[in-house]
Structures are given as C-alpha cells and as structure tokens.
C-alpha cells in the first residue's frame, strides 16, 4: 500500500513541522480555550433567561458544542491544513 505509506510520511512531516514551533502550539491552545469560553459564555447568557432552547436543555446544548468542537478539531487536523496549503500553492503557481 504505497498510498498509505505516503499518507504516513506526510503525517510525520506535518508533526515535525508543528513541533518546531512550540510557542505557536501554546498560542493555539490559548485560542482554542478562548473559542470555548466564547461558546459557553454565549450559552450562559441565553440560559439565564430560559431552561430550554427549542426543546434542548442547557447540558444537552453544551454536549452539542463539545461534539461540534471535536469534529472541528478533526477537520482542523486532517483536512484544513492541506486545503489551505493547496490554495497557497495555486495562488503562487507552484503546482506545475
């Protein structure tokens, strides 16, 4: 399976690239936390005025937010970096 080996190689290169920028990792962690605070803060305001939102209880909506962030994380790890790199490659005309 040469395709799988290729994916594995790209994955290793990606991890090595990220590991080279440790401050960046901390900053991204901080930004993810900020995103979480934003989501929960907005919900906190809404749920001070109601017990259910369209039939959803607060704990259920929090679970939904968790799933959303989780799926977003997977997309951010697997799909988004390559997608953005592709745009860059096309814009700089480096594909050929």
């Amino acid at each position: 399976m040469s395709a799988l080996r290729l994916v594995w190689t790209f994955f290793k290169v990606g991890v090595m690239g990220e590991a080279a920028y440790r401050v960046n990792f901390v900053i991204q962690l901080f930004q993810s936390l900020l995103g979480l605070v934003t989501a929960l803060g907005g919900l906190a305001v809404v749920f001070t005025y109601t017990d259910t939102l369209g039939g959803w209880r607060a704990d259920e909506v929090v679970a939904l937010v968790g799933v959303y962030i989780l799926v977003g994380g997977v997309i951010g790890v697997v799909i988004q970096p390559s997608m953005e790199a592709l745009i860059d490659v096309l814009a700089r005309d480096e594909l050929r």
């Binding site: 900053i27 930004q31 900020l34 005025y49 939102l53």
Partner: protein
C-alpha cells in the same frame, strides 16, 4: 489641509478600483457580517417564544429591531486593519508606505471609508429585506435619530483608533492572531453583539461601562432604537470623547515606538 484632501481623494479612487476587482469577496464578506446577528436573533426569538413573549423587557419585535440595526452599526464602525498589519510588517510592504509624506493612517482611513460607501448601502438593503422576515418593532425618536449620526461617526473614529493601535502589535510580534482573537471576544460580549447589554449580569455591565467596547457599537445602536434618555446620551458622548482622546494618544505613542522597532529589525 488641501493637500490632505487630495491624498484622500486619490487613495479612495485606488481603493474603489481595487474593490471592484474583488466583487465576490465583497459578497462573501457581507454574508459573514449578516450571519452572526441572524443566528443570535433566531436564538433570542426562540427564547422569547419560550418565556411568554418577553425577555428582560425585549419583545420578539424588539430583538428583531436590535439585531437588524446591529448589522448596520457594526458595518459602519468595522475595520479589518488588525488582520492586515501582520502581513504588512512581515512582508515589508509597510516600507513603501513609510516613504510617503503623510502618516500611513490616512491611507487606511480613506480605504475604510471608500469600502463603507459601497458596503453600507448594501447592508441597508439586506437589513430591510431581512426586516420582512423578522418583522422588527421600530419606534423612532426624532431627537435620538439626529443624535445617532454623530454618535455612530464617533463610534467609528473610536473603534478605528483602538484597532489601529492594536494592529501595531505586529511590530513586536508576528503572532498577532491571539491578541486579535482576545480583542474580538471582548468586543463580541461587551459591545452587545451577543445580546443587548441590559440582559447581562450586573458585574458584566459594570465592566462594560469602564471599557471602550460599549461606546463603539451598543451606544449608537441604543440611540438609534430610541432606548436612551437625554442624560444617558450625554454620558455616552462624554465616554466616546474621552476614549477617542485616549485612542489618539495611544496611536501616537505606539506608532513612534513601533516604527523605531521596525527600522531596528532592518526590514
């Protein structure tokens, strides 16, 4: 002064030409500006329906008026300068701007104004169209409407000065996205973009009074909706003036220190 007017005219011409080259980007940007208020409006409409037609003094129609007017005020006061400065410093395009005989902030103001001349009428049409779906309840207070014009203009100046100062952080760090995000989270909650500020707990409102965010969006917005007394309006203008004064000092100090830093790196 005549020279500066010429600079503005020319810069705006250039900005218009650049904008017309990227029409699709303008449409995508408008959608992104409308999406957030519409989501919060739908959430609060749902909450209102669940709690017997009123939440913290706001009816369904009040929320509709609030979030549709928010689109307009946010559009008028918005700037994108914080996203741009990192690129300018990193790629060195700022060097060319430094060679010009006028302060670079003028080019940015002209660029922003010309963009608003196109986006604000479009946003107005969008808000009115959405009004047919969400049916806002509007009470027009003539004096407040007249006071809204200078209030939103001052709000624009204030927001522009603060965001331009923060954008200069790019001189010291090339990782400004964390700073930008922190700013936008504070702005989101304390300027009334999630909910009208009166729905927040008391301590959040107290913090909001002491910070500039409220005066950038919530104050002109409440004025437009006729929610303020004359006394509250005067306090609002006073707070705007005071923060603009702070902003002017910050811009000068940060710019001088920043340019020194920039030339020290040798870009």
């Amino acid at each position: 002064m005549n020279g500066l007017a010429g600079v503005y005219r020319q810069q705006m011409k250039t900005s218009f030409a650049a904008m017309l080259q990227y029409r699709a980007a303008l449409v995508i940007w408008l959608i992104s500006q409308v999406l957030d208020p519409v989501i919060y409006l739908i959430v609060w409409t749902t909450v209102t329906a669940a709690s017997g037609g009123e939440v913290g003094g706001y009816s369904r129609g009040d929320f509709a008026a609030y979030f549709l007017a928010l689109m307009l005020v946010n559009n008028i006061t918005y700037s994108w300068i914080m996203h741009e400065y990192e690129y300018r410093v990193r790629e060195g395009t700022l060097s060319a701007a430094l060679l010009r005989p006028v302060h670079p902030i003028h080019a940015d103001i002209a660029d922003n104004l010309s963009s608003k001349m196109i986006s604000t009428p479009m946003m107005l049409v969008l808000a009115i169209s959405l009004g047919f779906i969400f049916r806002p309840e509007i009470r027009l207070v003539p004096w407040a409407l007249a006071a809204f014009v200078p209030a939103v203009a001052l709000a624009f100046v204030l927001r522009f000065l603060i965001e331009w100062t923060l954008a200069l952080a790019a001189f010291w760090t090339t990782r400004v996205s964390a700073l930008n995000q922190t700013y936008y989270v504070a702005l989101l909650f304390l300027s009334g973009q999630v909910a009208p500020l009166s729905l927040f707990p008391g301590f959040v409102q107290a913090i909001g009074l002491a910070l500039p965010f409220r005066w950038m969006i919530a104050f002109p917005l409440d004025l437009l909706l006729g929610n303020l007394t004359v006394g509250e309006t005067l306090v609002g203008f006073g707070a705007q003036m005071a923060w603009i004064g702070v902003g002017l000092v910050l811009v000068r100090v940060a710019w001088r220190a920043g340019v020194r830093q920039y030339s020290a790196v040798g870009a």
